[in-house]
Assembly symmetry: C2
Amino acid sequence: MSTSASFSPKAALLEEYALVARAMSSPARLSILEQLAQGERAVEALAERTGLTVANCSQHLQQLRRSGLVTSRRDGKAVIYRLSDPKTLDLMDLLRIVAERNLAQVERILRGLSGGEEAPEPVSRADLATRLAEGSVTVLDVRPADEYAAGHIPGALNATLADLDKILPMLAPNTEIVAYCRGPYCVYAHQAVAALRTRGLNARRLEGGLPEWRKDGRPVLMASP
Amino acid sequence: MSTSASFSPKAALLEEYALVARAMSSPARLSILEQLAQGERAVEALAERTGLTVANCSQHLQQLRRSGLVTSRRDGKAVIYRLSDPKTLDLMDLLRIVAERNLAQVERILRGLSGGEEAPEPVSRADLATRLAEGSVTVLDVRPADEYAAGHIPGALNATLADLDKILPMLAPNTEIVAYCRGPYCVYAHQAVAALRTRGLNARRLEGGLPEWRKDGRPVLMASP
DNA sequence: TAATCGTTCAAGTGTTTAATTGAATGATAA
DNA sequence: TTATCATTCAATTAAACACTTGAACGATTA
């Protein structure tokens, strides 16, 4: 081009920034990042949870590593990956927010998740914390049982979407239910809220998910070892 | 995996988020976004300032439009593009921050801009505002003259890197100089600070650039019409 | 109405990417 | 050591992308 130096530092910087954006420009890699937001994971676990083959997942992880978003360490035979920077969570969240604000398609999909009904405003984490202290709320963790076991909001019940009916008897009809899942990219909480509301229950979604709750420094109950 | 959008709503959502990230995954498009952060622009102006051909620039703009990051309107013969959402600025800034924190290469390039010297901490916008009120600082706008004319921080001098020596006599040696340019993606301020410091002057960089200053609601002096 | 100008489209070329398969690595356990 | 297991590499195919060129469009002006 017409820039003064053949290797302008500015172009080099833009190249690096673009590398990070490119790492986030594939649904598969966003899915991996969402998993890593829950905590560090081995390749096989990531592959299983994202529905990718192990080899393919490994390739995507290499790309994420080149972009600096994840790092890895060895633990025996396994290679464990993790997010290298908590700010990556903020970046993913902002990416989602910008997409929601500017892409009509996103609005449409989210509306579809709520069964066409108007979804209520989510509950902020601060609100949930105060209401938990009062005991004026039932918290529902909509993630798979193993993720619940690895850590959850103290006092939360656990049920996947498929098991939702089984815990209905435990939900007092006049107490509001707050559902959460993995985080802003996870749609379980959206779907659970829609399902509960069609059953006449008063349910809302927690803003963000467990990683955001943890990042705020709020208490998380871990499984006893 | 499936390229056809909505098998599962979750996959469809990730696809949309990835679309936004993909739009930011090219140096050319980041360069265009940086220009649009200054204000709305016609295609030809964007092409000239980014060093792209008009046709190529137009293609990139189509992609940015598909991702929802920019919108356009017609003004006579010209089509004027602008950022559709101020949050895009935040997203670009966070992308840069994450890249700087996690890619050693970025650190290296930035160090190169400062001539190997340790660069001083940038001045926050709040600090500059109070020190401007005191008159205890000289502000230097390092952008091209036409961009300076279109709006700048009140009281700022203007000089490009090439013209820096011409304004040296106007800089009091015992008053700190604060240099700014287009924003966090622009390297002019970095380079100007390095150049001034080798001349023995006390210079620092403003955090962010004019778009960020404006976004904070701080005063900007516009050219009289 | 026709001519003009800025912008966009369509087609072609060379490069990069995602995903698959099967083989190669590297650490552990027998 | 050898066998085993999780992970990565290498080679392949099909798809997507960046950029160029020249033509087409749409609003303005002559």
